[in-house]
Amino acid sequence: MSAYILRRLVQALVVLFFITAVCFLLTHYSSDPMAQYANKQGMTEADRQAIRLRLGLDQPLPVQYVSWLTLAFQGNLGNSFFSHQPVLLLISQRLPMTLVLMITSEILIIAVSLVLGIISAVKQYSLTDNIITSFSFIGFSMPIFFIALGLMQVLAVQFKEWGWPYLPTGGDVWDFGDPLALAWHMVLPVTCLIIITVAGYSRFLRSSILEVLGLDYIRTARAKGLEERAVLFKHALRNAALPLITIIGLDIPALLGGALVTESIFAWPGMGRLFWEYAQKGDFPVVNGTLLLTSSAVVFFTIIVDVAYTLIDPRIRLN
């Protein structure tokens, strides 16, 4: 077991090296942070050179990369080019907002998918199943901005026009510390995330349950006279939900990066929007820091999920 974990960790280091190299190379060439100074009044070429020197942009690329990597290993992701704040500070300001949004959504997503998946599997080919299946196909084929703009159009714009109680569009200013305002502003983004994600999860759970229900031990459980309810919840669901755990486990670290589109549509001050705002400005310390943090989380969560899986399911052997 420990040899396996060690081997995985070594592999993870190689993966992380690739990630940093890819991110650094792409972000470096993708935008010019000096562009904002190009037409500034009263700024001479010497001033620009001084800024370049201060930001370390005069160095050759490999030197910049190595110095950035060395600092990153020491837990210093550098300062933002524009706001001059440490990247880690910016991230730590945004991360809680993303976590609030994502954890709430994920809990509701799991609950709704479990209910829909179970109903759809137990009543296979019934009208309910067909309706759930149709909706999950549509949900699965939908870009999130479609549902986001649609809900916003109806529940925020139209309701306001009709003089009904309406939901916020995200354009307004509000106090993040006020739990009521927070919950109120979360309604739309959370609903969108649920609709989009539940489609895939419930569909997956349905086929997983159906597969398990066809196995011999379920027949045995029925043959010995167990109630259908006990067969389903005590026997079938335990095995059927296992693969879902992997999927959720792998989705969670990606959630740290936030739902970029959802966050930008609803002006949610989370990680996704942080990335998007600073990527547009070409602030690559922030972009690289966000990418590095999110992808490292993915890499390490994959290992944790694989190891945890063997603890939950003794049939799996690591090799």
Binding site: Q11, V14, V15, L16, F18, I19, V22, C23, L26, T27, Y29, S30, S31, V122, Q124, Y125, F137, I138, F140, S141, M142, P143, F145, F146, L149, G150, M152, Q153, V157, Q158, E161, T169, G171, S207, L210, E211, L213, G214, I218, R219, R222, A254, G257, L260, V261, S264, I265, F275, W276, A279, G282, V287, T290, L291, T294, S295, S296, V298, V299, T302
Partner: protein, 318 residues
């Protein structure tokens, strides 16, 4: 319920007792045909193709750029079925031509995805050793970065001004090529892994040993034996990848990093939609989105049917 989940018996037992055995291709077609949703999806795609092809014969291409600012943001009427956009251009006309570009971007990006995925996955499986390790670590690295983040970074990386492209007497913004590369370059990873896993198991089969013993070259074994036997998986991935690519185009364009607006696509028709929403302008995002959802839904249905048809074990889910 139990009987539903049990493997169904081959239907040839009941219908054609002494008929000649079906070829694999006939069997696949028969299974696909029985998948009603997949047929609906295929019909939907057919209708869509008719719409964008016949549509472009009726509506001339300059009509997508024909309008003036006084007629901007008009709600749908008899004259403008889907309303007009921020430049006063007709949304319906742009949907026709935008559809052509969106589908073309999807197909080209999938071609790139398939090529990259098959070649990288194939090389990793075929040569093994350090090359395999290197390719797979790189694949994992690309997978670890959330795809939308990667799309944005790559789109900005490549997003410099490019000269226009002239094909078939029409002018396209050079950014079409960039979007294709961005999408193709960020979506090959799953396919590479699947191809590798499949080829690894194929490599150990006896007919490959036989081919080697007969002195077949690496190239011949790869192209004549390994690739054809992986084709089923590749076709399914390509179909589902097409849906993903069209969706990616929509996301990248929605964020304003896609094709420049001189060449309409379903995605870039929406990039200003949100700013005008509060004024009650809904047709800017609604119609392009609707076409995107319809297209992706149909493609996914076909892909699902193909997966069931090509995978003999999935017969019971029909």
């Amino acid at each position: 319920m139990t009987t539903d989940a049990l493997p169904a018996l081959p239907d040839s037992n009941t219908s054609e007792p002494i008929a000649a055995p079906l070829s694999p291709r006939q069997l696949i077609w028969r299974r696909f045909r029985k998948h009603r949703m997949a047929l609906i999806g295929a019909i939907g795609i057919g209708l869509l193709l008719v719409f964008i092809i016949v549509g472009s014969m009726i509506v001339p291409e300059p009509a997508t750029r024909d309008g003036n600012l006084r007629a901007r943001l008009l709600a749908p009427t008899a004259g403008h079925w889907f309303g007009t956009d921020t430049n006063g251009y007709d949304v319906f006309n742009r949907i026709i031509y935008g559809g052509q570009i969106s589908l073309a971007i999807g197909v080209l990006a999938v071609v790139m995805e398939i090529t990259l995925g098959t070649v990288l996955g194939g090389i990793a499986a075929f040569y093994g050793g350090w090359l395999d390790a290197l390719i797979m670590r790189f694949t994992e690295a690309m997978l670890a970065i959330p795809q939308l983040f990667l799309l944005i970074v790559l789109a900005k990386f490549l997003g410099h001004d490019l000269p226009d492209i002239n094909i078939l007497g029409r002018t396209f913004s050079g950014s079409v090529g960039i979007v294709v590369i961005v999408i193709g370059g960020t979506s090959w990873m799953y396919l590479a892994r699947i191809v590798r896993a499949n080829m690894l198991s194929l490599r150990e089969m006896e007919y490959i040993y036989a081919a080697k013993a007969l002195g077949a070259s690496d190239r011949r074994i790869f192209l004549n034996h390994l690739v054809p036997n992986t084709l089923g998986i590749i076709i399914v991935s390509a179909t589902l990848g097409l849906a993903g690519a069209i969706l990616s185009e929509a996301y990248v364009s929605f964020l304003g990093l896609g094709v420049q607006s001189s060449t309409p696509t379903w995605g870039n028709m929406m990039d200003q939609a949100q700013s005008f929403m509060v004024q009650g302008v809904w047709w800017l995002w609604f119609f392009p989105s609707l076409f995107i959802v319809f297209t992706i839904l149909c493609i996914n249905l076909v892909g699902d049917g193909l997966r069931d048809a090509l995978d003999p074990r999935s017969g019971r889910h029909l």
